[in-house]
Amino acid sequence: MCGAKTGGVSTDGLDLTDESMIQGVVTRADEPVAGAYVRLLDGGGEFTAEVPTSATGQFRFFAAPGSWTLRTLAPGAEVVDQNVVASKGEVAEVAVTLE
């Protein structure tokens, strides 16, 4: 999408002081993947949330401080797991690359 920033969607206009945000973009062969499913698993591997990626391959979670795993499912792709740490007042940016 024209003018889209690198990484997750813009956080302009959001008060992030009390949020522990995790966001990013899913790509395959350098192209954004729309309609992939990104699942947020907690430290114990338990499902916490799941979102489909946007037209520009982006996703976002309002998590809590701590360690998380992102599990990405997309048509015709292997499942990808990635670890991420969220901290209060910060945005953790994650790039997910599908084979």
Binding site: D18, E19, I22, G35, Y37, R39, L40, D42, G44, E46, F47, T48, A49, E50, V51, P52, R60, F61, F62, A63, A64, R71, L73, A74, P75, G76, V79
Partner: protein
Amino acid sequence: MSTRENVLVDAAWVEAHLGDPKIVLVEVDEDTAAYDKNHIKGAVRLDWKKDLQDPVRRDFVNKEQFESLLSERGIANDDTVVLYGGNNNWFAAYAYWYFKLYGHDDAKLLDGGRKKWELDSRELVDEAVQRPTTSYKAKDQDRSIRAFRDEVETAIGQQNLVDVRSPDEYAGRLAAPAHLPQEQAQRNGHIPTAANIPWSQTANDDGTFKSDDELKKLYEDKGVDFSKDTIAYCRIGERSSHTWFVLHEILEQPNVKNYDGSWTEWGSLVGVPIELGDQP
């Protein structure tokens, strides 16, 4: 035919029945724009908030409103309604429960919902769907599947209370699923004596339900006593509809209710007990 086959259909079944006038596909999403982008051919949409919630009071649309809604969407009393949606069928299961609340005979869920359909790269179309209007007649609400707050309070320590939210919401570390901003109830935590059995443990990664044996074992291992009545709750009653579906429709447990007030009500009530942390 087993119970499971009566209430759950797979994608191949849906594809084989596309165009059958007595089978109505209904998409129900949290993200109500998903349907506009595309949907399964012939599917009509129900908006879980706009169509199914009273616009003023916190309650459902009444029987007459439900009748006019279904009549307008072209759903008849003798139609087979197949519900599906995003978010692992949370809102489709909620609508399923809602159809049962108003006494619809033949409703089914598409196993895996929209996600499984998409992951299989099956066809989605963007054409508008218009079904001929009907004269739908609903029954009075079946209160044997709907729990209210006083009943929930009485059930503490007496019946199975199943909190189907994520462990972090249960313990009070999060107030809502992590893809939504933190808001809602006045207080975090869970209802004392409720077991935390997240809805997600009933489903595979692709959103399809686990086997009957796996499901039964899941609840038994977490201390659910199948000889007792059960009340399921979550934050707003949609994920607990998913669990209600597992317990009542797949496992055929007779006395299972969904507490649709759920945490957004309980966590805002004055004077009720709340437990924090990972233990019931």
